[in-house]
């Protein structure tokens, strides 16, 4: 076969060195400078947009290592930067050096030679509370001691005990009431004795007289207008009038209660309530010198209370006074601790932002400087943490500092923005590169006619688009970055811009270049490969 023999005469086109391809593509770029610029513009815009979004995410308010504390946090509360963790062990020597009195430090020190500021703070709080409570208890006692005995008397009255006349008079029972009740008591005794003797049930004249006498004296006790001459009206023979009772005479509590029920004007509401074992109104009680705190406490949710518990409270009160007295004395030592050394220690042992983030990392592994937001007084300070499941919001700290805890949505929004900008980027770049390659199909056909290998054509285009991609990406990054910096700086403050981290900025730069280059290459390789693979005749025919 002649063709077989001659085929070896046809050589194989050799691959051109990379340098040659580079020269040609560089020349091509230079020659079509303005057209290349337009194509690069697409890449540039995409990358600039991406950079703006990325840079924006780096913007954060400057964050001091330590925020001035000024207060002490006790366990169970949120600790933000600047908060003092009251449970951090502090060396005894440091405490004394800072100015806390030695006896106080020794009192709260642990065996290992450290103490916790929480103990001192707790002591101060306890001392303050003891003082306050002691003051209150004493104040209450002033009111209570005034009504103490009278109340006890009336409470006893409710139990139907025998009451002495002189006691009754002392606690506000009018003289005539006490006296008449005592006589009535004597009459009742006599009557009872008589009734016990007469068993047949028919009433003798004496019994009738005694009953009339009892009615008369009870009426006299209830109404001061009932006079001895009125006795006849009650069926008492004129001759019968009893002697005044003896000094130590007693009367029945139940009789007094009856009188109070009938004619209560002389007894104040507190005492009448006690005697009748009725509900006492808080307002009435306060008017009768019961301390408001106690009245309210006894009434609880309602508006009334009974005399019995009040009497018990009065009995228990001296014990309370003793307890608070003791506590106040015991904690008085903490009042000798001046404030400045505590503040100084707190500041020295204040939590840093890194501590907060370390805490945050325990709940969210990806917590870092960009996803916890700390709001410090009027300024926003961005820090980071996401707590699983917790909703976003401000966590209030004392002293005006707040921690803003963003929820997951905040982060998703961020990713969504980046994804959108990437999409815009992709569409822009792909469109530019597709156009740039497609309009050169004819050129590709010509090159293949002149002996270019498929791969060389692709290499040329990849080089061109690669160079364009890098330059446009760098420019896009620079412009996007500057734009964001200027915008943020002029509107929100330059310190926020100055606070950006160099490494983070560098990362966005690398990201922008990689994205720009990759997208450009990907958008180029498809049409370039297609053009290179076509028969040259078809590429030559194509018209744009």
């Amino acid at each position: 076969m002649p063709s077989e023999r001659r085929k070896s005469a046809v050589g194989r086109q050799s691959q051109l060195p990379f340098k040659r391809a580079f020269e040609i593509s560089l020349k091509s770029l230079k020659m079509r400078f303005w057209r290349s610029m337009i194509t690069a513009g697409g890449i540039f815009l995409g990358i600039a947009f991406l950079t703006v979004v990325l840079t924006q995410s780096l913007m954060q308010w400057p964050l001091p290592e330590k925020v001035d504390a000024g207060y002490v946090k006790v366990i169970g509360q949120v600790n933000g930067p600047g908060d003092f963790d009251a449970w951090t062990p502090v060396k005894v020597a440091d405490g004394i050096k800072a100015g806390i009195p030695e006896d106080v430090v020794r009192l709260v020190a642990d065996e290992d030679g450290t103490f916790r500021l929480a103990a001192v703070a707790q002591g101060q709080i306890d001392a303050k509370r003891a003082d306050r409570n002691l003051r209150r208890v004493k104040q209450e006692w002033k009111g209570l001691s005034k009504i103490k005995y009278a109340l006890a008397f009336y409470v006893t009255a409710a139990t139907d005990a025998n009451l002495k006349i002189d006691n009754a008079v002392k606690y506000g029972v009018p003289d005539y009431v006490a006296r008449n009740l005592a006589i009535a008591g004597a009459v009742r005794k006599e009557l009872d004795a008589k009734l016990a003797k007469e068993k047949n049930g028919s009433e003798s004249r004496e019994v009738k007289t005694l009953k009339a006498e009892l009615d008369f004296y009870m009426a006299a006790a209830a109404d001061r207008n009932v006079k001895p001459k009125d006795a006849v009206k009650y069926g008492v023979p004129k001759a019968v009038t009893r002697k005044a009772p003896a000094k130590g005479a007693t009367f029945k509590g139940s009789d007094l209660a009856d009188v109070v029920r009938e004619q209560p004007d002389w007894a104040n509401p507190l005492y009448s309530g006690a005697a009748l074992d009725q509900d006492i109104n808080v307002q009435d009680a306060v008017r009768c010198e019961v301390p408001e705190t106690i009245a309210k406490h006894l009434a609880g949710e309602g508006k009334t209370f009974k005399a019995g518990p009040l009497n018990d409270a009065i009995k228990a009160h001296p014990a309370w006074m003793k307890i608070w007295q003791g506590r106040a004395e015991r904690n008085a030592i903490f009042k000798t601790v001046p404030k400045p050394p505590i503040a100084a220690l707190a500041r020295a042992h204040a939590r840093t932002l890194n501590d907060v983030i370390a805490d945050a990392k325990k709940t969210a592994k990806d917590a870092d400087l960009t996803n916890v937001m700390l709001v410090n007084k009027e300024r926003k300070i961005k820090t980071n943490f996401v707590r699983g499941g917790e909703s976003a919001g401000l966590v209030k700290l004392e002293g005006g500092d707040n921690i803003y805890v963003p929820d997951l949505n905040t982060r998703y929004r961020m990713w969504w923005l980046v994804a959108m900008s990437l999409l815009v980027c992709t569409v822009g770049i792909t469109n530019s590169m597709l156009m740039a390659v497609t309009e050169r199909f004819k050129e590709i056909g010509t090159m293949k006619c002149l002996g270019a290998l498929d791969w060389f054509v692709v290499e040329l285009f990849m080089l061109e688009s690669g160079m364009m991609g890098i330059v446009a990406s760098v420019l896009g990054w620079v412009v996007g970055f500057l734009l964001m910096v200027l915008l943020a700086g002029s509107t929100k403050g330059w310190d926020m811009v100055g606070n950006m981290q160099g490494v983070a900025i560098l990362t966005t730069f690398v990201e922008a270049i990689v994205v720009g280059l990759l997208l450009t290459m990907i958008a180029t390789i498809a049409p370039a490969k297609r053009a290179a693979d076509m028969p040259p005749a078809m590429a030559l025919r194509s018209e744009i």
């Binding site: 046809v10 194989r12 086109q13 051109l16 020659m31 002996g451 028969p535």
Partner: protein, 248 residues
Amino acid sequence: MANEKKEYVVRTKDLFKEFTMGDTTLQALKGIQLDIYRGEYISIMGPSGSGKSTLFNMVGGLDKPTSGTVFINDVDMAQLDAQELAYLRCRTIGYIFQSFNLIPVMTALENVVLPTVFAGVPQDEGVERGIELLNMVGLGDRLHHKPTELSGGQQQRVACARALANNPAIILADEPTGNLDLKTGKEIIDLLKKLNKEQGVTVISATHDLKMLDISDRIVWIRDGQVERIEEREDVQLEVGVMEHEEE
């Protein structure tokens, strides 16, 4: 020359080419049988749509036939892989197109030098060759002009120089005068003839320019994708002469 040795430079055998456009299939070539000798100046004539350009693409290795074979220097093109095909396009065949197809961003010289770059010729040598060729086509003073700064005739002359860059055995010219006016068309035809005579290049030219007939060794008439007839120059010379006579 043609008498002493009949060495074939291009041969086609039962060449068929179909184009499928949607549902319809168009038969552009229907069994073309053509032998072309070394050093010949051959014109392929025919109305537009007759399949001239398709044949031209087949012969030039720019497209693949549906069936049939093309031999270049007795080598079956269908047997060649991409690299061998590229080698062939680079060194054995020079192409001239109706629309010139110069690379628009390159100067005249760069366009001419490009094939030598692909052939792996050292740069200095390639540039030297390019200048020489451009001088030959009469554009020695336009080396650094871009195609857009040249007239149609000048562009086509650059294309001719480019086609010759790697000393090809064959020049394929697809309607080289189609986009040119009469005078410049004549110049290009003269140039091709000169190349054919002086350098011994086989020129295969698809055309419907009758001026081409005058200088062609043979004329292949194509109609509906088939070779209608092949005429020797001697047979048509008289006709053309009469026409020229009439013009005067």
